[in-house]
């Protein structure tokens, strides 16, 4: 009559393994990827190739720094790529051929970005528009403005110094990497050490509780969108320096790549959890994958397929971790 039911589940051991994997999983994955790349192609570890990879990674890294802020407060910003291109077009609008214009270009780019971020943030925080819709609309509007100005033709009237942003070096270190490091550390301190950063985590974790504890969630959310846009704007200028000419599609695909990198780096789309430096590790993984596909001589479309598979893998990984 007696029926034994299922046996007790094992515990404790698997938990600690999981936590190690949770903390260092992405880093282990990156090392594995790089090893595979090095074995697959002797070119990979050559300094020239590595510098090339990092140079490509830098503007994306800048966007990811900003995107992380927005995702932390339960949002996302689809307008970053469109903003990058618009900033690039704005840079040509000065029709400058000398380097004196560069500071002006920077100031104008940051100002435009800040306004875009303010509008995004205002729509999301004050008007309760979903981040997806608000930033999608912003993406389209920026695109329209850009097209109206350029008439669709590429422009290359740029101060010669802009190229320095992409290929220049200071003490042998690429300028764009120095800038990325500076942005990452500065915003890393803001996010992980400052009072504002704490408020961002509180709002992302539980907006209602944050409000009841004396935080102004709307202000925090708007600030995050402004930070995101400003980072994207700066990224746009560096990308422009890399590309050299301005087409209407500079930076295309960066909106999704930046979200993918952040999510791979463990920034939770549900908000309140993530780390800037881990998100940048996500960028590294992404660009190494792209590079690997090229080195192996696969068609470029493979990049997309592999990227997609990895997103699903990352999502499933974080999903099970939460369960």
């Amino acid at each position: 009559m007696m029926v034994p039911l299922d046996t007790p589940m094992p515990r404790s051991q698997s938990i600690s393994m999981a936590s190690v994997f949770e903390r260092y999983g992405l880093m282990i994955f990156l090392v594995v990827l790089m090893t595979v790349a090095a074995l697959a192609s002797p070119t990979f570890l050559r300094p020239a190739n590595l510098v090339n990879v990092l140079t490509i990674a830098a503007p994306l890294g800048m966007v990811v720094v900003g995107q992380t802020f927005v995702i932390l407060v339960r949002g996302l910003d689809l307008s970053v790529a469109s903003l990058m291109a618009t900033v690039a077009v704005l840079a040509t609008a000065f029709k400058a051929t000398t380097n004196e214009a560069i500071p002006m270009i920077f100031i104008a780019a940051i100002a435009l970005s800040a306004v875009v971020g303010l509008v995004n943030g205002w729509l999301v925080a004050k008007r309760n528009v979903s981040p997806f819709l608000a930033t999608l609309a912003m993406m389209i509007i920026l695109q329209g403005i850009r097209f109206a100005y350029t008439g669709g033709a590429p422009i290359s009237t740029l101060p010669p110094g802009m190229g320095f942003l992409a290929s220049g070096r200071i003490f042998g270190v690429p300028v764009n990497l120095i800038t990325l490091a500076f942005l990452a550390i500065a915003f890393g301190i803001v996010l992980h050490r400052s009072r504002l950063g704490r408020e961002i985590f509180m709002v992302g974790s539980n907006p209602k509780a944050a409000f009841l504890n004396g935080v102004a969630p709307d202000r925090v959310v708007i600030l995050c969108y402004v930070i995101c846009s400003v980072c994207a704007g700066i990224g746009g200028l560096f990308l422009l320096g890399y590309v050299g000419t301005v087409s209407n599609w500079v930076g295309q695909g960066y909106e999704l790549d930046s979200i993918v990198a952040a999510v791979m780096g463990g920034v939770a789309l549900t908000g309140g959890r993530g780390n800037i430096f881990a998100a940048l590790l996500g960028v590294a993984v992404l660009v190494v994958i792209n590079n690997l596909v090229l080195l192996l001589g696969f068609p470029i479309e493979m990049q997309l397929i592999i990227k997609g598979v990895i997103i699903i893998g990352a999502a499933a990984f974080y999903r099970t971790r939460l369960a």
């Binding site: 007790p8 985590f201 539980n206 409000f211």
Partner: protein
């Protein structure tokens, strides 16, 4: 004695770190209403889940209608005639009453398609059987909560039900609806259905149940006929200690002197019509009343998250107008909200961040968080409030409900130097943590903080308060002083006043309509 409908023997359930069921025996006979009693965390819900096929026990045996069974899914248990009505209603709010009642067995018509007409006919039959009059075309979210509960019960009557399990069905209904529910339970009992009934309201158990099984900390305390136990004995068995040991002694001298909070004729939204109350320095003032009587809304108006239409709030004798929590916090006011998870905790953040949340000023230097100081504050609070955790860096989501609640107390009591508002301060915590929380509240009051405590648990209101205000339908309908304090006195006020107010509102409404 007839054979059992269901018989569980030596059931055990293990989760890492907790053991919600430890070798429990439980049996329900046909035609019996069997009450399941125990504090939160005693294992009642787990036991119900085991019977309903939601949870698989780690060991032990289950016999249903004479045959050994091991449910693979809730569906299997339901097909065999076990129906569970959970605390949270499992209804589809967008669908009609009929669609919900027949959710598992949609009647088929021509070509095997679902027949809408047959569905409404069948649903109406079942509702008539229950003796309730609910339109079958109505959408669930258009119905009052009590009717929704009835729909949930109607679902149980669709198939052949042999074992009906009700998990706190009276939490959301009152008065006539409870009578109707009990009537139906008795009818089912006479038809030979075995019924398991979970409720915290002891009065109901004496009214309806034949047998009672008491659980404590996952272990069986005992099973006996209801008539063999007194109320006192039940409580003592349930909590494992006598009532007198649960609540800290009241202050010897009644709180005298100044009001820390005075509310006069407050009007704020539809749920706060006319509220006057006061809290003195060092006093614990209870606010009792039915769910929905406006208690929480009063707290929100005081704390500054609900717009005040008219009336006055005075704090330390000075008019107090807050628009935001920030200002209230700065004045030494704390508000421990009702729902820990929804608006209290930052679940993904460490304990330390949760403790210092309303006091970021205190740990910020030049715009940066002073982590050393934050840690020091957190360690001190963890120790003072005996929160069980290895470190302040642990995510608060990993703590038990009781420990989470203690963290919230440590958060608010640190900054609430003048007044602490508590909304359901012991919801979902076990008795051990409750006792600790009661001591914390008394200690706070003794240190000179005024405490305004909203609670639906009458024993808690009676056991802890120095004075009680009773609310009904947005009005304060009475004040009960310490010496007259008792559950009956409160209930009488709350219930009688409801009828009174209703009559009054009707009269007033007529000339307008």
């Amino acid at each position: 004695m007839s054979a059992s409908v269901i018989e569980l023997s030596q059931i055990e359930k293990d989760y890492p770190g907790v053991k919600p069921l430890d070798k429990v025996d439980f049996a329900v006979r046909p035609g019996e209403i069997h009450a399941l009693l125990g504090e939160n965390g005693a294992g009642k819900s787990t036991l119900i889940r085991v019977m309903g096929g939601v949870t698989k026990p780690n060991s032990g045996t289950m016999t249903y209608l004479g045959k050994p069974v091991s449910w693979q899914s809730p569906k299997e248990a339901r097909a065999a005639g076990i129906h569970v009505i959970h605390q949270e209603l499992a209804l589809f709010p967008e669908l009609s009453v009929a669609e919900n009642i027949l959710v598992d067995t949609q009647p088929r018509g021509m070509f095997g398609l679902i027949s809408n007409r047959a569905r409404h006919v069948r649903a109406a039959e079942i509702l008539a059987q229950l003796g309730v009059d609910i339109p079958t075309h109505a959408k669930i979210d258009e119905l009052p909560l009590a009717d929704q509960q009835m729909v949930e019960i109607a679902k149980a009557l669709v198939g052949r039900v042999r074992l009906l399990i009700l998990d706190e069905p009276t939490a959301v209904i009152a008065g006539r609806e409870v009578d109707l529910l009990f009537e139906n339970m008795r009818r089912l009992r006479n038809e030979g259905v075995g019924i398991v009934y979970v409720s915290h309201r002891l009065e109901e158990i004496f009214e309806i149940a034949d047998t009672v099984t008491i659980l404590k900390d996952g272990q069986l305390v005992g099973t006996s006929p209801v008539s063999a136990l007194t109320r006192e004995e039940m409580i003592t068995r349930m909590v494992g200690r006598r009532l007198s040991q649960i609540y800290p002694p009241r202050r010897t001298a009644p709180a005298g002197g100044r009001d820390v909070l005075t509310v006069r004729n407050l009007k704020a939204g539809p749920r706060v019509r006319d509220v006057s109350l006061n809290v003195k320095v060092g006093e614990i003032v209870g606010v009792a009343g039915m769910v929905g009587s406006g208690r929480t809304e009063v707290a929100e108006a005081i704390f500054g998250t609900r717009a005040v239409e008219s009336g006055g709030i005075e704090f330390d004798g000075k008019p107090f107008e807050t628009k935001l929590p920030k200002g209230s916090i700065a004045h030494g006011l704390g508000f421990l909200t009702e729902s820990r998870k929804d608006d209290g905790l930052f679940l993904g953040l460490p304990i330390s961040a949760n403790i210092v949340a309303p006091d970021l000023d205190g740990i910020t230097k030049h715009g940066l968080i002073d982590r050393k100081q934050e840690r020091a504050v957190a360690m001190r609070q963890i120790q003072d409030f005996s929160v069980a955790t290895p470190s302040p860096d642990v995510k608060i989501g990993n703590l038990s409900g009781g420990n989470q609640q203690k963290v919230l107390f440590s958060r608010w009591s640190r900054i609430a130097s003048r007044l602490l508002i508590l909304d359901e301060p012991t919801r979902g915590v076990d008795i051990g943590a409750k006792v600790e929380i009661y001591r914390i509240v008394r200690r706070l009051a003794d240190s000179g903080v005024g405490v305004l405590m909203i609670s639906s648990e009458l024993p808690e209101i009676v056991g802890l308060s120095d004075r009680v205000f009773v609310m009904a339908q947005g009005y304060v309908v009475g004040e009960i002083k310490c010496d007259a304090l008792g559950e009956e006195a409160i209930m009488e006020l709350a219930v009688r006043s409801v009828g009174h107010r209703e009559a009054e509102t009707d009269q007033r409404a007529e000339p307008v309509g």
